[in-house]
């Protein structure tokens, strides 16, 4: 390996995986404490909480996009369904304040139901139709939320969402939300990793790699795909329900198509089919732009003087979003062309996209010799 990082990589690679997981967990647990001891601004805690929501979404979408190989472009619709469940059932809008657990269950079930509905027409079809159907479905949901004023108050949104009460504990501080989300993320990641390594997970991977071959090996494609879509919808609904509690206000502009694209970008960047990848992708794409922006617009000017690179400051202040999305678009294209396995790749997916590489075939022979050799075609 002529990679300059390879030696560093080997050193890091010798550390067992649980060490990294533990380090990440410790970091996540310590993170809100920094704020409560006044070591960090609350802003960062808020951004961290937002990142955790994206982590949840990325892990959920990874089930569909990464594990099963279906491009889902309306993922934010299920997020919206969850968020509106909370907003309607726990706000002054209809003067309701339902129990937190009940709302979580309703949000998940409702999102799963919607996932099922969108799955019926699209999963029997070729994979790329699913992309368009889900995209259209996402827009239908957003426009319906915007138009159905009796239920959702239309574009005005639903303000004043009550904080959740969990066993008598009122969650209303940013740090509390961070921990709540962290617990949810840990549970979801644990569940998803188990499923991934189960029969169902292997069926999904088989479908992704060769639908026809897997069909003939006893996988029922529509059912397996439906399961992935429904489960990931449930995760998005859960994320949305907590998100609405956290924001205390939602309206349809939170659920634009671009949000779905951002989550897709996270999964692609981190590595399709890899849970650590999804987590890393979410953290990288949600936190990095904000850190860059704060560095150039707040900290450096403060440290060096406000005239520090005024052009960069101005550009970041006015066109930040444009450049961010421009780079997101570019990231997707470059990643799929040059490193389709993502930053933290999953073994199988990596093999799949680099099959022509002799080094990789050798690697595959050494490590995964139980797979048939010389499978050439990926085109369907």
């Amino acid at each position: 390996m002529a990679n300059p990082f390879s030696r560093v990589g080997e050193v890091f690679g010798r550390v067992p995986r649980w060490v990294y997981v533990a380090a990440a967990l410790v970091f996540a647990i310590v993170f809100p404490m920094l704020e409560s001891y006044g070591l960090m601004q609350t802003l960062w805690l808020r951004l961290g909480t937002r990142t955790l929501v994206y982590v949840l979404l990325a892990v959920g979408l990874n089930l569909v996009l990464g594990e099963t190989g279906l491009l889902h472009l309306g993922y934010v619709a299920f997020f919206a369904v969850g968020a509106y469940s909370t907003a309607i059932l726990s706000s002054p809008r209809f003067d309701l304040q339902w129990n937190f657990w009940l709302i979580m269950v309703i949000a998940m079930l409702l999102a799963m139901l919607f996932g099922f509905i969108v799955g019926i027409p699209s999963l029997r079809l070729r994979g790329d139709y699913l992309a368009i159907v889900t995209l259209a479905f996402g827009e239908i949901v957003r426009m319906t939320l915007n138009n159905w004023e009796w239920l959702t108050n239309g574009p005005g949104g639903i303000p004043g969402i009550y904080p959740p009460v969990i066993f008598g504990w009122v969650v209303d501080q940013p740090a509390e939300f961070f921990y709540l989300l962290l617990v949810v993320v840990v549970i979801v990641v644990a569940l998803v990793s188990n499923i991934k390594n189960s029969r169902i997970g292997r069926a999904w991977n088989a479908l992704r790699e060769d639908e026809i071959a897997s069909h003939h090996s006893g996988v029922r494609p529509t059912q397996a795909k439906m399961l992935a879509v429904v489960m990931s919808s449930g995760i998005a609904g859960l994320a949305g329900a907590i998100f609405a509690y956290y924001q205390q206000f939602i309206n349809p502009t939170y659920f634009l198509f671009m949000q779905s694209v951002i989550v897709v970008c996270m999964v692609v960047l981190g590595g399709m089919g890899s849970i650590p990848g999804a987590v890393l992708g979410a953290v990288a794409l949600d936190a990095t732009p904000e850190i860059i922006r704060q560095t150039f617009t707040t900290w450096l000017p403060r440290a060096v003087g406000s005239d520090f690179l005024p052009a960069v400051q101005a550009a970041l202040q006015t066109d930040f979003d444009r450049y961010r999305m421009l780079i997101f678009g570019l990231v997707i294209v470059l990643m799929v062309i040059f490193r389709p396995e993502g930053l933290l790749p999953n073994q199988l997916w990596r093999r799949e996209v680099h099959e022509e590489d002799p080094r990789e075939i050798e690697h595959t022979r050494q490590h995964l010799f139980d797979f048939e050799e010389g499978r050439q075609d990926l085109e369907v």
Binding site: I132, R322, G329, P340
Partner: protein, 406 residues
């Protein structure tokens, strides 16, 4: 519900349908040749319109310019736009799609989406977020009165120009060497290559032609509606893709038919009373019943091998269709069924479901005959059409014209 209202809506629907068609043709050609949804096509459309409009504004046409000079300027602007947009289409294929040609479809589609996002934001950075506006002095504003409805000359121009372009495209695909190469490439790329066809060149050509059509569409939108915004292409692209699927993707006449249907559905949907719309569902129901009771059983029976075609068996096939869902469900859940009956039963259940839904909608609409859909549901209608067509007839109205390699 006056006649001129219906007529006005129809002309508006046809006009917007023709514009959808110009974009949908690009989608459908690329899909036919590469089996790829060229997601960036909507952005190509916007960029084409932007370039043409800004060229016109830059030249500085106003109301005093003589007509002949005006037309020359229009031609010039269009030419600039065509050249640049076709180059863009060529580059998109070269940079974003060609390296991925042998990868799975989802990878190529991801690349297309990334390209689309990139181009849209590039457009904002170059031209700014404010829309580009055509001064009315530039645009011909004449009109004629037909059946009491006012039809703009520009609407007629759009319809005529689109029809001419479609005829030209049909000639290219059916009558030229390049068209033959395109058809061959779409059937089987490897075989076409072995026969000495330059598939790379053919694919590039497809992108160039599709982009040029989209650019003309963009220019017509800027002229007709008076404005283009950086994100206009997203919605138009999505609608045009819907139209392509509606007509049967990969199918050139299908794209045109689908576009017109979609344009009309959008305008009629929010312009006509439900009582009037209900008749469309009645028509659909009659068609659906014809399919279920006559066409589909006949089609199935024709596929039975001669030696098995006994009158009793034919009747069983017919009964599955005629007395669905009872007989069809019985067949589906029977312990021993033969494959043809099983497939027929599935098909019959689907057809019955569609017909029941059509009947329900027709009744619902007749009952609420005086109400009208609020115009806020316009886009929802077109997306609902997309979901409905995929649920009940995924191959589209005219069927797909692509060869599935499996």
């Amino acid at each position: 519900m006056t006649l001129e209202h219906i007529f006005g809506l129809t002309v508006s629907g046809l006009t917007v349908g023709m514009i959808y068609a110009l974009i949908a043709l690009g989608y459908t050609m690329v899909y036919g040749v590469l089996q790829l949804i060229n997601f960036a096509h909507g952005e190509v459309f916007t960029i084409g319109g932007y370039i043409a409009a800004s060229t016109l504004i830059w030249i500085g046409v106003d109301a005093t310019t003589p007509l002949a000079v005006k037309f020359a300027y229009f031609g010039l602007a269009l030419l600039v736009s065509l050249v640049l947009t076709a180059t863009l289409g060529f580059l998109i294929e070269r940079i974003a799609y060609r390296p991925l040609r042998n990868r799975s479809r989802i990878i190529a589609l991801l690349s297309a989406i990334g390209t689309s996002i990139f181009l849209q934001n590039l457009l904002v950075i170059v031209f700014g977020p404010q829309p580009i506006i055509m001064p009315t002095a530039v645009v011909p504003t004449g009109f004629v009165e037909i059946f009491g409805a006012r039809i703009r000359v520009l609407q007629i121009t759009i319809i005529v120009v689109s029809l001419l372009l479609m005829a030209l495209l049909t000639w290219i695909v059916k009558g030229t060497r390049m068209g033959k190469a395109m058809r061959a490439t779409s059937q089987d790329r490897e075989a076409a290559e072995m026969m000495g066809i330059e598939t790379n060149l053919t694919i590039s050509f497809t992108f160039v032609v599709g982009s040029a059509l989209a650019a003309i569409g963009g220019f017509l939108v800027a002229m007709y509606y008076g404005s283009l915004q950086f994100n206009t292409g997203f919605l138009y692209g999505l609608k045009a893709f819907t139209a392509a699927v509606l007509g049967g993707i990969g199918n050139i006449p299908g794209a045109v038919v689908g576009s017109l249907v979609l344009g009309l559905a959008e305008n009629w949907g929010v312009g006509l009373n439900l009582g009037v719309l209900a008749w469309l569902f009645v028509g659909g129901l009659l068609l659906g019943l014809y399919f279920q009771l006559v066409r589909a059983p006949r089609f199935r029976i024709d596929h039975i091998a001669e030696e098995f075609r006994t009158p009793a068996y034919e009747r069983r096939v017919r009964d599955v269709y005629r007395f669905a869902p009872v007989v069809a469900l019985k067949t589906l859940f029977a312990e021993r069924t033969d494959a043809l009956l099983y497939v027929s039963a599935q098909h019959a259940v689907r057809l019955t479901a569609a017909n029941v839904i059509l009947l329900g909608l027709a009744v619902l609409f007749f009952v609420n005959g005086d109400v009208q859909f609020a115009s806020k549901w316009q886009h929802v209608i077109s997306f609902a059409v997309l979901m409905a067509i995929l649920m009940f007839r995924p191959s589209g109205i005219l069927g797909e014209h692509i060869q599935e390699k499996v």
